[in-house]
Symmetry: C2
Subunit: 129 residues, 2 copies
DNA sequence: CATGCATCCTGTAGCCACTACAGCTTCAAG
DNA sequence: CTTGAAGCTGTAGTGGCTACAGGATGCATG
């Protein structure tokens, strides 16, 4: 059994964030010690790690709740997981495409800028009709 | 002189967002009609368009405030603008790199998933120690 | 002149996923 | 027995909007 600080160290989720996840219903409320401190067993720590990994992969809290609910299920689960993953993958690819366009636009924007210039081409472009 | 709705149409910034920008100090408070309605001249509309373009390019509100302040200045301005643009460009490139990694990780995650499977490899990976 | 409807106004609350206090209690070490 | 770290609850703040509620105004029609 681990107190919240150790659970944080073991899972990579910060203490405040763990409490937030509990409030938000992402993870179930853990047992408490006689004095009211949260006590996490290894399954609870594994759940926190699951949430951490999923967040690092960019899944929303809503998606993670769904994934957590699917975890103990069987049969249909894997297809549902795949669907969530593929939807997220599509979102990520859209974001990448957007950012690549953005990159080009930014390069073009500041291309002719120079510290000595009195008439800034970037500002001009941003202000142009 | 345009009321806020027309200013919104001309600039591409939504009505509520224009009011938010005013509250936040991104754009100065415009003149008012006798009955208290906001009235925007073409310079004010141009400022809104400037903010819109900059936001579309991913600049933060804080950066946009700086850019707006630099706009009327001369001499040093263009170098400062370039600096803000380059910093933002670096951020964008970091985000692109992160998302490309994420893309790979997601592909790997759901690669072996299938709707018929009872043991989901994605969930397994997320739960793994 | 009255009615209706669009548009405007202010002020406040909600979104996401945390993060950061304030003010308190508990626990282990010295 | 004191000190300091770590725990607790509850609330407010972050960015950049968005969405009401509840009212006033302005313009076209009957």
């Amino acid at each position: 059994m681990h107190e919240i600080g150790e659970a944080a160290r073991l899972s990579g989720v910060k203490v405040e964030t763990i409490r937030y996840y509990e409030r938000d219903g992402v993870v179930p409320p853990p047992d408490r010690s006689a004095s009211g401190r949260r006590l996490y067993d290894s399954a609870a720590v594994a759940r926190l790690r699951f949430v951490k990994r999923s967040r690092d992969l960019g899944f929303s809290i809503a998606d993670i709740k769904t994934l957590m609910a699917l975890a103990p299920a069987s049969g249909r689960a894997c297809g549902d997981v795949k669907e969530i993953g593929e939807r997220h993958l599509r979102d990520v690819r859209v974001k990448i495409a957007d950012l690549l366009e953005l990159e080009d636009a930014l390069v073009a924007l500041i291309h002719d800028c120079d510290s000595g210039r009195s008439d800034c081409p970037a500002l001009r472009k941003l202000f142009a009709a």
